[in-house]
């Protein structure tokens, strides 16, 4: 809401710039910004049209003589259809600046001299949709004679200075000028003064033209109306109109404008009905499901049984606190009116307004709450304003549909505790002084303070609220900077987070870039890598099909990244992600959240450069990274790689499950060529590891040993073996037979093809023997080496070469 400074001055003295005020209000209460309307406007004055002639060379232009307060009238050519003699109008003189950089200059229009422009309201900055409808297609004409030559800015509020407050939902008390005056007054230590509205007692009668009933009393704590009889609906006065259009409300007529004015003044929405269009009754109740409400412009809303409506007989007039249809609208023919001020349940209004997409100024106020201590006063004020502009013959007493007496909130607090929570040491007087500035009354009894909160501050309820009020008015800038001074605590990560941090560091060290992907995937993506065969987890109301399911693998995200990068010619990629996957066991609503670390590598791992030959990523490169990663888990486990062709989107001949002590902890391999093609990516190798599974392994306990002082002896072994025999089988067998001094076995050659028997391959191994405590003899080594060779011949039918 925008707080007009001129309006505010009716309640408190204001002697600061709007910039200063907005800044101060932001720091003590509500986020605010300065608004200065029409800063660019110049040379706009009242003109009085003294005569009009038709333009000799135009059908629609008129040549006007206009008194602008100078010794002679000036001639202005005007094309507006509504221009007429004796009108008081807005004249932009030669040299005038208008909004959007428009500049008015003396000139000729079809040969006729024109010394300015007669303006419409929209041409001087009032948005077309907020100016009175009658001036929509023409110039603005003042209702009352004005002094020619006088600047128009104040008359029309064109250079209004305002403070635009952007309230948090708890501070709807400032959505009215009175509440805003209290808040701004507290900021500047000024108590606002307000005039109580009064009615002409002689007109007030017991009128009973209308029965008022509230059926849904729990949703409508207050519902009050008044009748005004025999009025003449007119235009509202300019002072009211300009305040309304500056609030982005279009002036309509004296009655409607008065109700809107009161909403801005008090924050209490008020509704007006044409009494003669009602069936002698007003009833507030819940609609029947399927009821129809016709709104203007042929919009029809189908209501639900949770919608609160105002009805008269069988007519549905509108949704309570939100919007009314055209059924009982007050227009220029209205003679008798009913004004209504009610309080409607915020949650109910919010849901109904949301359901029917009808949120506006009034519903916004009910949603966030209104002061139920001023409902009757606001109604009286609206009645007074209508009577003032369109005098009534008779006015009813307040007719009560429902009324709930508003009780002030009483909060008990402790001066010491309030200070304590702020980290300050203010005196009781200082604190009570702040309550007083806010219009709260307080009673001190030693350390105890009892604060009575007026109904306009319904956000206040507990001592913590008092802390906030004192602290913000005292000024947060006056708070010292301290740190919590309790018992010493040990900070740090959980052990599992430490592990995943360590694993991430290894992959960074291996030259892999870290990525972060979305957790929500498409249905296809969760189907692509459901390697753990869990149930999918789906959002109830997804925004797009791309983000519909919770990820069950990090690989689809990595593939998105590979595709995105390769499409941009970033071909050599090495990326990883550490994040959670969501695995939902059958019969469980909630998915388990399992941290994984996954990687994808494609393109060259050694670049094509002046001194290096390019080398493409292959299975063994990625396996090297994974093994390094596993070695850093510090797990006391046997990690093995077991070939698998089970995963649909993985290459059946280049994929392995990763096992720790025979439990699957992840997999590694090449993406299936078909899958790669579908995603337009080149050969890509991926891996994933379940961090929970790795974390669950026993850790190694390292007991230091000195490095051996005796030299190792190496024997080389070359064998010819059937192609189907795997390296791991050979190595395992070598270890079984190699004796206690066999330290290490490394494969240094794998060859098949030319000069090798069909379906066979040639393998070469280094066997490293070492006795840490003594020099090994050739005999000892030879003996072990023979046993190794004999066993291989016997078990795998190898040929020793």
């Amino acid at each position: 809401m925008k707080i007009s400074v001129n309006w505010l001055k009716e309640y408190i003295p204001v002697d600061h710039t709007v910039e200063e005020m907005a800044n101060k209000i932001s720091l003590t209460g509500i986020e605010s910004g300065p608004v200065k309307l029409g800063e660019e406007l110049t040379n706009l004055v009242v003109g009085h049209i003294t005569s009009i002639k038709s333009h000799p060379d135009s059908d629609h232009l008129k040549v006007c003589q206009v008194d602008v307060g100078e010794s002679e009238d000036i001639q202005i050519v005007c094309g507006a259809p509504n221009v007429a003699v004796d009108q008081y109008v807005i004249v932009a003189l030669h040299g005038a600046h208008l909004p959007n950089g428009v500049r008015i200059k003396r000139g000729k229009l079809r040969g006729q001299e024109s010394n300015g422009m007669i303006c419409g309201l929209d041409e001087v900055g009032v948005p077309a949709k907020y100016m009175p409808e009658e001036f929509e297609n023409g110039i603005y004409v003042f209702d009352q004679p004005q002094k020619p030559g006088v600047e128009v800015y104040d008359l029309l509020g064109l250079k209004e200075q305002m403070i635009d407050i952007d309230i948090t939902p708890n501070r709807a008390d400032t959505l009215g000028m009175h509440g805003a005056a209290w808040e701004i007054g507290a900021t500047y230590n000024e108590k606002p003064t307000f005039k109580k509205p009064e009615l002409d007692d002689s007109k007030v009668k017991d009128l009973t033209d209308i029965d008022v009933t509230v059926d849904a009393k729990d949703l409508v704590p207050d519902y009050l109306v008044r009748e005004l009889k025999d009025i003449k609906v007119t235009k509202s006065p300019l002072w009211m109109q300009r305040r309304l259009w500056n609030q982005n409300i279009r002036p309509v007529n004296s009655v409607v404008d008065a109700t809107n004015y009161v909403m801005i003044e008090y924050g209490q929405p008020v509704q007006a009905y044409d009494l003669d269009k009602l069936n002698q009754s007003l009833t507030v109740k819940l609609a029947n499901a399927g009821d129809k409400l016709n709104l203007a412009d042929d919009v029809e809303k189908t209501l639900t049984a949770n919608d609160l409506v105002v009805t008269s007989g069988d007519k549905i007039l509108g949704l309570a606190g939100i919007i009314n249809g055209p059924e009982a609208t007050v227009d220029e023919n209205t003679k008798n009116v009913v004004l209504e001020a009610g309080v409607f349940d915020g949650a109910s209004v919010r849901k109904t307004a949301q359901r029917h997409d009808l949120r506006d100024d009034a519903s916004n106020r009910f949603e966030k709450g209104v002061d139920n201590g001023i409902v009757e006063e606001a109604l009286t004020r609206a009645t007074q304003l209508v009577d003032q502009i369109s005098p009534a013959q008779e006015i009813s007493q307040t007719i009560v549909g429902n009324f709930t007496k508003a009780e002030p909130t009483v909060i008990k607090g402790s001066i010491d505790h309030i200070n304590h929570l702020m980290g300050l040491d203010l005196s009781a007087d200082e604190i009570v002084g702040i309550f007083d500035r806010l219009g709260f009354t307080s009673e001190l009894n030693g350390d105890a303070v009892t604060v009575t909160i007026p109904t306009r501050r319904w956000d206040m309820g507990i001592e913590a609220d008092l802390v906030e009020e004192v602290n913000r008015i005292y000024g947060y800038e006056n708070l010292p900077n301290t740190l919590p001074a309790g018992m010493e605590t040990r900070g740090g990560y959980s052990a599992k987070r430490e592990l995943s941090n360590k694993l991430r560091d290894i992959l960074l060290g291996e030259g892999m870039d870290e990525v972060i992907n979305f957790s929500l995937l498409s249905k296809q993506e969760v189907a692509d890598f459901n390697v753990n065969q869990t149930e999918y987890t789906k959002l109830l109301h997804p925004m797009t099909e791309d983000h519909e399911y919770l990820r069950n693998s990090l690989i689809p995200g990595l593939v998105r990244n590979v595709a995105y990068n390769q499409a941009r010619k970033n071909n050599d990629l090495s990326i990883f992600e550490q994040a959670r996957v969501f695995a939902r066991p059958t019969g469980q609503d909630r998915p388990n959240e399992i941290p994984y670390i996954s990687g994808a590598i494609s393109g060259n791992v050694v670049e094509d450069s002046w001194n290096t030959e390019p080398k493409q990523v292959d299975f063994y490169y990625v396996k090297g990274i994974v093994e390094e990663l596993l070695s850093f888990t510090n797990a006391d486990a046997d990690f093995t790689f077991v070939a698998t062709d089970e995963y649909t989107n993985m290459h059946p001949g280049q994929t392995a499950k990763i096992l720790a002590n025979d439990q699957v902890v992840g997999f590694i391999g090449k993406l299936h060529p078909d899958y790669q093609k579908k995603h337009s990516i080149t050969d890509t190798f991926v891996f994933e590891l379940n961090i929970n599974a790795l974390f669950g392994l026993n850790t190694k306990s390292v007991k230091a040993q000195s490095a051996p002082k005796y030299p190792a002896i190496t024997r080389d072994l070359a064998i010819l073996v059937n192609k189907d025999i795997q390296n791991s089988q050979i190595i395992n067998d070598i270890f079984v037979n190699g004796g206690k001094y066999l330290q290490d076995v490394n494969i240094f050659d794998v060859y098949e093809g030319k000069n090798i028997k069909q379906d066979h391959k040639s393998l070469g191994y280094h066997l490293v023997f070492l006795n840490p405590n003594d020099t090994l003899t050739d005999e000892e080594v030879e003996k072990a080496f023979s046993l190794v060779k004999d066993s291989l011949v016997q078990k795998f039918n190898v040929e020793i070469r």
Partner: protein, 348 residues
């Protein structure tokens, strides 16, 4: 010729030859030829028997000196030739150091994780534990326990991805507060934790919105926590992240789970508070929300608000990183173009 003269001649010739040598081999040969057992000096000394006994010591000394001198000449020349050889080798081995390196790569940590870990390290130093939490959370913890009942208007501020009536993708890492307070044993000291992680909102992705983003929630509950503690902590944090000359200010705000609630602005690190495009000419940039834990939130976790108080704050790593590095589009974080990622190598 006297033996004396013969030796002197040998010396002169030997030194002369050594000086003339061009290759190391010549010098080696010279040494063997002149100084060896079959060499002319040895041969000449056979004539000692003809020398009168009283002159023999003198001749002996001379012979030794001759050997020494020749030896020295050979060594000097050898060293000279060696130096030349080394110099030649070095010259041959000279390379163009401006040719590009053989690539050694370390990967780059994602800038969001760098930002998060920088903040984590700051708080770990102050004795905070880093908690994890659930990304799929119960309505109960995400809303109810934070003083946001079903009909609360604050639920409008964050549109939620629900999985069922009771399960949702957490919309805020504050969802962790209830769980941490329940689990904490206050007899062992204060609760001091930060909870970084991913949160989700039902938003359309654009330059400033993402349906998934990160938050870091901080919570301290103890007997004496005050607004001044909150201000001091966040002041230190902002100086740590945005530079030692930064200041912060509190502005009143509203969150259902804190009271008082504040927005925290940091003085603009671009213009130092003068006003610029980044701070929208205010000199201040809004960086986080905070407050004292609402007594209802404490009560719901079985903590007596008359005895204990808490402070809480929530900040957005995306926002921090965008501000600090001038990133204009939040989507860049999640596209993972390696050219974007790698520019943040080593910034934290």
């Amino acid at each position: 010729m006297s033996l004396n003269d013969t030796l002197k001649n040998l010396r002169e010739n030997g030194i002369d030859e050594a000086k003339r040598a061009q290759r190391l081999q010549e010098l080696n040969d010279l040494r063997v030829n002149l100084l060896g057992k079959k060499g002319p000096i040895t041969k000449a000394l056979r004539g000692m028997k003809d020398v009168p006994a009283e002159q023999r010591p003198e001749i002996g000394t001379l012979a030794n000196n001759v050997k020494k001198d020749i030896q020295a000449a050979i060594e000097e020349k050898m060293s000279e030739l060696n130096q030349k050889l080394v110099a030649k080798k070095l010259e041959e081995e000279t390379i163009d150091v401006t040719l590009p390196a053989t690539k050694q790569t370390q990967g780059t940590k994602h800038i969001l994780n760098q930002t998060i870990e920088d903040i984590e390290q700051f708080f770990i130093g102050l004795g905070y534990e880093v908690a994890g939490g659930y990304e799929v959370e119960e309505d109960h913890y995400n809303f109810e326990r934070l003083n946001i009942p079903k009909d609360h208007p604050a639920r409008d501020m964050q549109d939620t991805f629900y999985l069922s009536d009771e399960l949702l993708m957490r919309t805020q890492t504050s969802a962790q507060e209830g769980r941490d307070m329940e689990a904490h044993d206050f007899t062992k000291g204060p609760l001091k934790m930060i909870s970084p992680g991913v949160v989700y909102r039902r938003d359309d992705d654009d330059a400033t919105h993402s349906h998934q983003f990160h938050q870091i929630e901080g919570l301290v509950v103890d007997k004496n926590i005050s607004m001044a503690d909150l201000k001091g902590t966040l002041d230190a944090l902002c100086r740590h992240v945005f530079g030692p000359d930064r200041e912060i200010r509190f502005r009143p705000s509203y969150f259902p789970f804190t009271e008082p609630s504040v927005e925290v602005d940091v003085s603009c690190f671009n213009c130092g508070g003068e006003g610029c495009r980044i701070c929208k000419y205010t000199g201040w940039i809004e960086v986080l929300g905070a407050g004292l834990t609402h007594p209802n939130v404490l009560k719901m976790s079985g903590i007596d608000p008359n005895e204990y108080s808490g402070m809480a704050f929530g900040l957005g790593p995306e926002r921090f990183a965008m501000l600090k590095y001038g990133i204009n589009d939040i989507r860049d974080f999640y596209l993972n173009d390696v050219r974007f990622l790698e520019q943040f190598k080593g910034v934290n």
